[in-house]
Symmetry: C2
Subunit: 500 residues, 2 copies
């Protein structure tokens, strides 16, 4: 069996990649497992150098990588150039995390032989969880793929990675792999700390492999839920960190609609159709005051939109079906359609209707991947709050309000907090900064692991496991736990956090 | 249907408790969900006062609680008095955690409009995950039951709790509940922030209830795995923090056997039979040098042991079956048996055989709950390392060695680190200190959530979820995220950890 690299714009076959057989996946995972000590012994500083070398290698190859990814995904040079920079920047940020050292969460409790019962000397730190399986996403061929956030945080944690390539950009995946391996060689580490598998059967084998101890996944609800259930039903269940689907509601209060309708209409239309609406944080559901005219004000922006090439045939088919299903909902109007033209291009859609539709149409709360958004009108605060209460777990909730509406805004913020991982105020959810304070996650179905994040420095915690050493002879202590703190780590001693 | 409180020593029925129906469980969970804002608004300081009031109420009722628990579990007054103190101490420790504030993991990233792409103002903190279901353990009627570590850490996180009582101590459960509720009233909070359900069907309903967002469980492998699978297969899967079963290998090196055999034999026999061997960290498998004489040296301690009352009929039946199954393994000798006598009492067992038995008898790597331990003799380092490699995920690994054996000890420690959450050196695994540095967890089947702990202050992280506020107007920011840091929290600003 074969995975073809397809030109997204022309539909033509580019190159052929053999599917990885289950037996080959087992060999990849076994090899990854063998390399655990190498990554571990490199220590935080050795791994920081590794991530930086990988970042350099990606940057050096940026031109070539962007060209291949653009052919496979049609995302365009500008966006893809930015995405390579985001990806190398992400690797460098995890190098910072490794040098800073808080990720080890070192805790030292002194012995107290006179306590009842006597207290031993306890020294606790995080260690690598084991081999990590990563499923690349279709919509971020770099930042959420072979060298993306899951891989960066897993390698930072000390976990070798086996990536299941996304079938819509296999060439980009192979070339990214080559860059990461060049980085590994430059850092003096075995290049097989990152490996690559192709094909759906390989993905299933990866989730089931006994050497794999966690999965990072970004993709669809159906595929993600299937793999989640597989991970949970293994003889040894493993954590499945899945980002599945998100409706990302955006709320416009009456005051905001009154005072800045034109601005919001333009910003929202741009956010909903950016990258052909193929972002996991695309605002897919807008709650706006009835009679405020938001949908109408957005219409001109949609009508003016050029037809867009989606990431590939299955994505286009999914969008066509999802849009048709929604357009068929009685009471939901198609307010505007973007320009059409060209066999492999789709027209953006703007739909609108009353918020009361939510009572009978759960479909309105499900993500439709692609350039489509739905504006629902609420008649009063009660209906707005009820609508927000219906919203399932989401990556983001966005609120546009005015300072005069602080009571309403506080009530909405409280509801929103329990439904999302990121609350955006007076802005748009697209654009996820990679940094120390970022949170990219949320209650199900946004993710399968609501206590974690897949973007930002805290993502490393997913691939670490705490171990405590009780009354350990000094000669056997790892450096992070030694009295002289040779790595200058922040540590918690008898409950008190101490900076180096 | 009814759950009976049974006197563990006499087998007589004491009192009757109606099983909670699934409909009643739904009402409990709905009520718990309604109380989320109350616990949340109390804030870390209000919840600290709550936990302290609960601790005081437990201490005030210690005499009564111990008497009831002793009747139901036969664990004895001394141990149970200590356990109440451990439990109230645990509640007070989480009050410290709340006042210290690191649990909120506050991160602030400044805006940078000139960056490419521009960076927004991001402020991240942890919020309560939602209602938590707790399954009480048989063997710790206080410390891992109604007011135990799961409840303490969930309440600290701001999550109301619904406890499934353990059927072997329903009266203790009800009286503990009364104490916790008295504490809640004293702290001015609704007493239903902790609720109690009885019966197996109620447990199933609790795991499936849509208001429940996480489960804490301590119990058997079979029961825990069943409930884990139920939690994973819900329409909305939820985290299942389960502690299931652990063999807790203890290794004696040739040097340790040579230099302190008598001391190790006494300490190990005491640890393996403490509390009638009903500890999750009981050393169930000992790896000792062939010809070193450890089993023989332990024999006298076992032979002298009085017969012991177990926690209840199902535990005794399980022990009898588990012991018989192991004693029937060809090549495994019953080296010593404790005294017998009394209808409801069991005799301790010490079994021994060659480490080569591990190759064909996986049963030797499974926990046998009760006063039984197995000593396996290894002939050389190769056989010892292979034996340790076979050990599945465990709460603890214990190593007895001498300073002269540092090379061997380092190799064993490296293997052990990847198999357990706590490494004990030259001591015994029983006795789990509650503190900042403790780690009680480990790879499956020790737990279903290897990245977490159920004992120690880090246990609170299981019930928290991060949320980031992007460009939030100051008026809508929670206190933890305000510029003036009114709660004097440790916070990370632009990647740099700052102490208050």
């Amino acid at each position: 069996m074969t995975v073809w690299s397809i030109d997204a714009r022309s539909g033509e076959r580019r190159t052929e990649h053999a599917e990885t057989t289950p037996r080959e996946v087992a060999a990849l995972c076994r090899r990854a497992h063998e390399l655990l000590p190498a990554l571990d012994e490199a220590g935080p500083r050795g791994r920081a150098a590794l991530l930086e070398a990988m970042a350099d290698a990606l940057d050096e190859r940026a031109g070539e990588l962007v060209a291949v990814a653009d052919a496979e995904t049609a995302l365009g040079e500008t966006r893809l150039t930015g995405e390579v920079a985001r990806t190398s920047g992400q690797l460098r940020l995890f190098a910072e995390v490794l040098r800073e050292g808080s990720f080890l969460d070192v805790r030292l409790d002194s012995a107290d032989p006179h306590a009842t019962p006597p207290k031993p000397d306890l020294r606790r730190m995080n260690v690598p969880l084991g081999v990590v399986g990563v499923f690349a996403a279709s919509n971020f061929p770099f930042a959420f793929s072979v060298g993306g956030g899951d891989t960066a945080s897993a390698l930072a944690a000390g976990c070798p990675v086996v990536v299941k390539a996304h079938p819509l950009h296999p060439d980009t995946s192979e070339r990214t792999l080559a860059a990461l391996r060049a980085g590994a060689r430059a850092a003096g580490l075995p290049e097989e700390i990152v490996q690559l598998a192709h094909g759906q059967e390989a993905g299933v084998a990866l989730v089931q492999d006994p050497h794999v101890k966690a999965i990072g996944f970004t993709g669809s609800l159906a595929g993600g839920r299937y793999l989640h259930d597989l991970a949970a039903s293994r003889p040894e269940p493993i954590p499945f960190y899945g980002e599945l689907g998100s409706i990302n509601p955006l709320i416009v209060t009456p005051g905001a609609a009154r005072t800045r309708l034109t601005e919001i209409a333009a910003g929202l239309a741009a956010s909903a159709t950016l990258g052909a609406g193929q972002f996991c944080v695309k605002p897919g559901l807008v709650l706006a005051p009835a009679g405020g005219g938001l949908a109408e004000a957005m219409a001109e922006h949609f009508t003016a939109l050029e037809p867009q090439v989606l990431l590939g045939d299955p994505i286009r088919a999914g969008f066509a079906a999802g849009a048709a299903e929604r357009q068929a909902i009685p009471g939901l109007r198609t307010v505007a359609t973007g320009r059409s033209g060209g066999e492999r291009r789709v027209a953006a859609r703007l739909l609108a209707g009353p918020a009361s539709l939510l009572e009978s149409h759960g479909l309105l709360l499900e993500e439709c991947f692609g350039p489509l958004t739905i504006v629902l009108d609420y008649t009063d605060e009660g209906e707005l709050l009820r609508a927000l209460e219906r919203v399932p777990g989401s990556l983001t909730v966005t609120l546009h309000s005015t300072p005069e509406e602080s009571g309403l805004a506080a009530r909405l913020t409280a509801l929103a907090r329990d439904r999302a991982g990121r609350l955006v105020f007076d802005g748009y959810p697209t654009g996820v900064t990679v940094g120390w304070a970022q949170q990219h996650g949320g209650p199900y179905p946004a993710t399968t692991a609501p206590t974690t994040t897949s973007v930002g420095t805290a993502a490393i915690a997913r691939f670490l496991r705490p171990v405590v050493y009780q009354n350990c002879p000094p000669a056997l202590l790892p450096p992070a736990l030694r009295d002289d703190n040779p790595w200058s780590l922040p540590r918690r001693r008898d409950g008190v956090l101490e900076l180096p």
